[in-house]
Amino acid sequence: MIQLAELANPAAYQHPLDISFCTKEFLLYQLESMLIIRKSEDIISENFGTGVIKCPCHLGIGQEAIAVGISTQLRKTDRVFGAHRSHAHYLALNRNSFGLFAETLGKYAGSSHGMGGSMHIIDRKNGFWGSVPIVGATVPIATGAALAAKMDGNGDIAVSYFGDGATEEGGVQESFNLAASMKLPVLFICENNLFASHLHIDLRQPTDATIRYAEAHRIKCELVDGNDVIEVSKATERAVEYIRSGFGPYYIEMVTYRWKGHVGNRDDIDVGVQRKDNLLKWKQRDPIRRLTEAMIQQHLLSSEELEILNDKIQSKLNDDWNKALDAEYPKSEALLSLVYA
């Protein structure tokens, strides 16, 4: 009987990452990506709090390692789909914080030209094929994009990010069967953060590890510490190779935790099972801290270098944010001109 067991224990897995056999360049890239995402979401969180950003924002702070570890294993022609909590999925592929900021502000310069907001972001050029907030909706769509990739025959794959809650949607289970029975090149990534909005998984499912569904559907699968960017990256490498070789779908369950509430900038510590206690412990399992500590221990990074890096990223993001604030809104023609091609 599969269970998350220790992987769901916030007091476990707090140790610095094992970064042996990783190049400094690779590690720095991962670190930078995670910092860009973390700081971008911090800016969004703050401006949501003050009411400058109006659209609903689902922040993934604490979950950055997953998108970052995965994205380094993909190529531009792969097709990645997100859901409601997809800032990281997008930024890990393109680092385009400006496009994200402008979109959350409803500006024409945004990723969806202001037509989508935080919950509908896209960047086809960089492999991000779209995210939407209907839970589970992109899972069959990613499965179809995999079917298209298979027909194209170039070895491209589809990636479908979804949450533990999404596995309760029937259409998601149907997609698993479709992918398995048609051997489609799709990587299913379940970001299991133990919650679907206010409800802990124990209140929604008889047990906490969703890879049991993958097993039932005969999809090759793994269970991974989602706060370990190195493990995420290695598992993805294995999965991508398997899928590109034509063996069919692959499912990785990434165990993680979101630091913010379900939507917006609050902590939601009034909500759900033991969230108040666990949140503090999960913050110790911070994927960024675990990587930086390992790098510092291994003398691949100094505290000063880290500070410089932080500052550089922060100031670039501040610029992006200010540019986004200054950007134009869409013209009112957009309302009707975009309905049909």
């Binding site: 907001g117 919950m119 309760e168 029937g170 909500v271 309302l335 309905v339």
Partner: protein, 326 residues
């Protein structure tokens, strides 16, 4: 006693749960402090988590479970905190519950109440904005209720749950803060309820439902100030739709505009016009009937586009003026 629309919904729940042991509530977010506004506050604490059931993210199965429980003698309210999510459960509502009694020759029926919440604006975008009441009004066997006032929010929810038929009860979060003076609860028979004149007038008939009724009432006030006397009909029950009062009003005023909060094609506004046209004589009309609906587009997010997209009181005022000035 003055209550808000949200309070009306809460009071209805309390009344039903206290007086009818066969009533329970099931849906997503019911144990959450924020999911359904102030319409269900503390129900789980006061009536127990066995009767206020929060669920997995499974719209189809939870709605089907409500259907099964209704068949088994209960009176479940299945809550969809957003109508867009309910789209996944339409088979159970339309193909199962609404037809259950007819297709089994009256041997069984499925008197669920589906609570579908219209929740939009605030840059939520295309997938978190739909108002699909016209779809459900299209379905024989499914009663469709859309309260516009706090009293109706309360009394029609009670009537929906006590009805022996499946009912879709649609509330709109834009109305939650609306207040109204109410009397103590009296149980109504839903089958007797229908459109109501909320304001009398002689020059023009405005027909609305739910939030657009409020818009019509506000427009009527402005128009009265420039000497136009507007009668406002609140539809309240969309299916089966009783045209009597609307027809009588149009026969009196000779002018009709229907204001609906959703799309035009095959929508509620067109239905009211057609229903009226079938029953009046052309000579009753002083002007061709008109409608105001959303533009033919999905909901945008950007606030500059939301401002263009949603109908405003002024849109109604100027439509009425332009018709009368023709």
């Amino acid at each position: 006693m003055k209550i808000s629309y949200a309070q009306g919904i809460l009071d209805a729940h309390r009344y039903l749960l206290a007086n009818y042991s066969e009533v329970f509530v099931i849906g997503q977010g019911l144990w959450s402090p924020w999911y359904v506004g102030a319409t269900m506050t503390n129900l789980d604490i006061d009536f127990g988590k066995d009767r206020i059931i929060d669920t997995p993210v499974s719209e189809l199965a939870t709605t089907g479970a409500a259907v099964g429980a209704a068949i088994g003698g209960y009176r479940p309210i299945i809550v969809h905190p957003r109508m867009d999510f309910m789209v996944l459960a339409i088979d159970q509502i339309v193909t199962q519950a609404a037809k259950w009694r007819h297709m089994f020759g009256g041997e069984s029926s499925a008197p669920i109440t589906v609570r579908a919440i219209i929740n939009r604006g605030g840059e939520q975008g295309a997938q978190h904005s739909q108002a699909l009441h016209s779809w459900f009004a299209h379905i024989p066997g499914l009663r469709v209720v859309m309260p516009a006032t706090a009293k109706d929010a309360r009394d029609l929810l009670i009537a929906s749950v006590l009805s022996n038929d499946p009912v879709m009860y649609i509330d709109d979060r834009w109305l939650y803060e609306q207040e109204q003076e109410v009397e103590p609860i009296i149980e109504l028979n839903l089958a007797d309820e229908g459109p109501k004149i909320l304001r009398e007038g002689n020059d023009f008939t405005l027909v609305g439902a739910s939030y657009t009724t409020k818009l019509c009432l506000d427009a009527a006030i402005i128009l009265s100030e420039i000497g136009i006397s507007v009668e406002v009909v609140d539809l309240r029950v969309l299916n089966p739709l009783n045209y009597e009062k609307i027809i009588a009003s149009v026969q009196k005023t000779g002018n009709l505009c229907v204001v609906d909060g959703s799309w035009r094609n095959c929508g509620l506004a067109g239905e009211v016009i057609a229903g009226v046209m079938e029953c009046i004589s052309l000579s009753d009309l002083k002007s061709a009937p008109a409608r105001i609906t959303l533009p033919d587009a999905p909901a945008p997010t950007s606030k500059v586009l939301e401002a263009v997209y949603y109908t405003k009181v002024e849109d109604i005022v100027s439509k009425v003026q332009s018709i009368l000035n023709q």
